[in-house]
Symmetry: C2
């Protein structure tokens, strides 16, 4: 009788022990989730920012990253997290996207945005649109409700109107920062001071030489203290990656110039097999290098880590052409990388393992 009882207790113990282990395994193979954002790269120096300014930027970035994080934490899709996080940055006057978008040569906002779903490789983008409050919402609508990928100009605005995308008056888009930036370029257009690029962007001499000798001269940089494009990449609980980017482009841009932000593979890319990417900087260099897709290819075909791929694209491929800017990467395993060859980049991330970071200034070695 006692033997029976003992063996019974023993079997029960084994069952409980196994089920505990199974639970542990389940926790171990749980899908990590994460979100990372940028608010533009450029000359962002502590000495040029008051504690109040730092607080203001920090507050918006924190609100944005937490908004996106809560969406994926509560089981929402990475697409929704990317869109809603970008909305917060678009609605802030601090960044060159949505409300804070810079003016083109006609003194008008001509905004670009794109979003990509890494699960289906579906994507939507708008280029050169005016008065749309949240261009990323128009990009999402293109993805969800058309057979197309990229709509542009007046046509894209008509599409947005027909799909109940919210519009705002020119007055809504007026910010002193954007106006002063525009006025400065207008006044200086005739007499370009390329040397200022080196001062403002701390470009080394060889880079400056490339820029000065390049056909791709960047007369606008001198007047803006950062590019201000915004971008977000998220990985949700289902392992789906999404990426999005929204921008006002370059101050005083002419001739319907389109940068990299609405160009899939240049400013934005997402693929569940590899990673999601969003870029900020002088768009032409990101188009010529296909920066966002290149990161994905380096991870998939050259087996580089997200960090190695970001370094290769920013500090080798783009820098070699004389390009300036930054990039954020989030891979399918939840690894985050950011890099830039300017003096700073507004950036933040939050991961399911509890890691969280908000930074503005130069990279602290191995901070990520």
């Amino acid at each position: 009788m006692r033997i029976k009882l003992n063996s019974y207790l023993f079997v029960t113990f084994i069952i409980i022990f196994n089920s505990c282990n199974k639970e542990k395994e389940a926790v171990a193979i749980k899908q990590p989730f994460a979100i990372v954002l940028h608010g533009g790269a450029g000359t962002i120096l502590k000495k040029n920012m008051s504690p109040e300014q730092e607080k203001t930027y920090h507050a918006v970035l924190e609100k944005a990253i937490n908004t996106g994080y809560s969406i994926i934490e509560s089981g929402g899709s990475s697409l929704k997290a990317v869109q809603k996080t970008i909305n917060i940055l678009e609605d802030s006057p601090l960044f060159n996207a949505g409300k804070g978008a810079v003016f083109d040569s006609q003194g008008k906002n001509k905004m670009d945005a794109s979003i990509m779903d890494g699960k289906t490789l579906n994507t939507g983008a708008v280029a050169g649109v005016s008065n749309i409050k949240n261009p990323i919402n128009a990009a999402r609508m293109v993805m969800d409700s058309t057979k197309h990928v990229l709509l542009s100009g007046k046509g894209a605005e008509i599409f947005a109107q027909q799909h109940q995308i919210k519009f705002e008056s020119d007055k809504y888009f007026y910010t002193e920062r954007a106006y002063n930036s525009w006025k400065n370029v207008r006044d200086r257009e005739k007499n370009k001071q390329y040397s200022v690029i080196s001062k403002q962007y701390s470009v080394n001499n060889s880079q400056l030489a490339v820029i000065q000798n390049s056909k791709f001269k960047i007369q606008n940089l001198e007047t803006t203290n950062h590019f201000g494009t915004v971008g977000v990449v998220a990985l949700d609980k289902n392992g789906n990656i999404a990426a999005g980017t929204s921008t006002g482009g370059l101050t005083y841009k002419k001739y319907g110039r389109i940068g990299d932000s609405p160009i899939i593979g240049a400013g934005t890319y997402a693929n569940n097999n590899t990673c999601g990417v969003s870029c900020t900087g002088i768009g032409e260099y990101y188009i010529r290098t296909l920066a966002a897709k290149e990161i994905s290819s380096l991870i998939e075909y050259k087996k580089l880590t997200a960090k190695e791929a970001a370094k290769e694209v920013i500090h080798n491929q783009i820098a070699k052409l004389g390009g300036l800017g930054g990039i954020i990467v989030l891979d399918k395993n939840g690894n985050i990388a950011w890099d830039f060859n300017t003096k700073g980049m507004y950036r933040a991330y939050r991961k399911s393992n509890g890691d969280k970071k908000i930074e503005f200034f130069e990279m602290i070695k191995d901070s990520i």
Copy 2:
């Protein structure tokens, strides 16, 4: 005395022998040069073409390929060869580019073009331009005389006017083919017959299912018998690769839709380290897969041949999404590949080793 003479003759013989060998080596390491073009993919069936029609297409493709070939043969640049070859196709009413460009929903030509220099990775493109006789010339001008890569719409037209790019009246761009195609879509827009896609494009059932279930429905295909985009890739005597693409886009396109032709990495790509690429088909799929850049990455990072890379992108990556079209590739060693998942593609190539081919219809196994 005789010994001296003999040894003198022997030395002379050795010198001549060596110099001959050196010459042989020089010939052996001579840079190959080549040019390849496409005039659009689609349902191109022998049974649907009269001998006269075949002759007409053959004549234009032959004139085009020979024009580009003579330029590189006489030491001209691949960029010039690409531009001048595309000009001949743009000036023909047979293709959906330049004079033969299809009409958008407003009954207007909205043309796209891009060109890329594989040596510098410089590139220029225009999107959604009207009345420009040769959009590829405007793209070249963007590359040569601005810091930008992509100009669009009215702004791009103003830029072209300021740079003495030739314009033509709407009348010049009228072709019966484009008008009928436009009229058919307008009449059928309300009642879409997706099944026609399978008839016209001989898509297999699984592909058709993808297309029918896809958000990216292609209501226009039923009315056009081929896409007609034109593209050229050339490799010159200096080992420089250039690629260019020009198109009128999709018949009855709306909302300022931009396809892959002006998007670097999607419809066009060139890199001296790998290859040059031009694409034709439903642009959205080429944007989502970054088809042209992907070919280059597969060659550079996965060490695929041009032929293997073309097959992977067309028959795996694009077909998997339900995409239709074709691609031409010319690698840095002068190897040419072309592939398509439609019933035919207008295509031609000519190489410095004497090889030359002009084809319209289904691929003959290992024809290339």
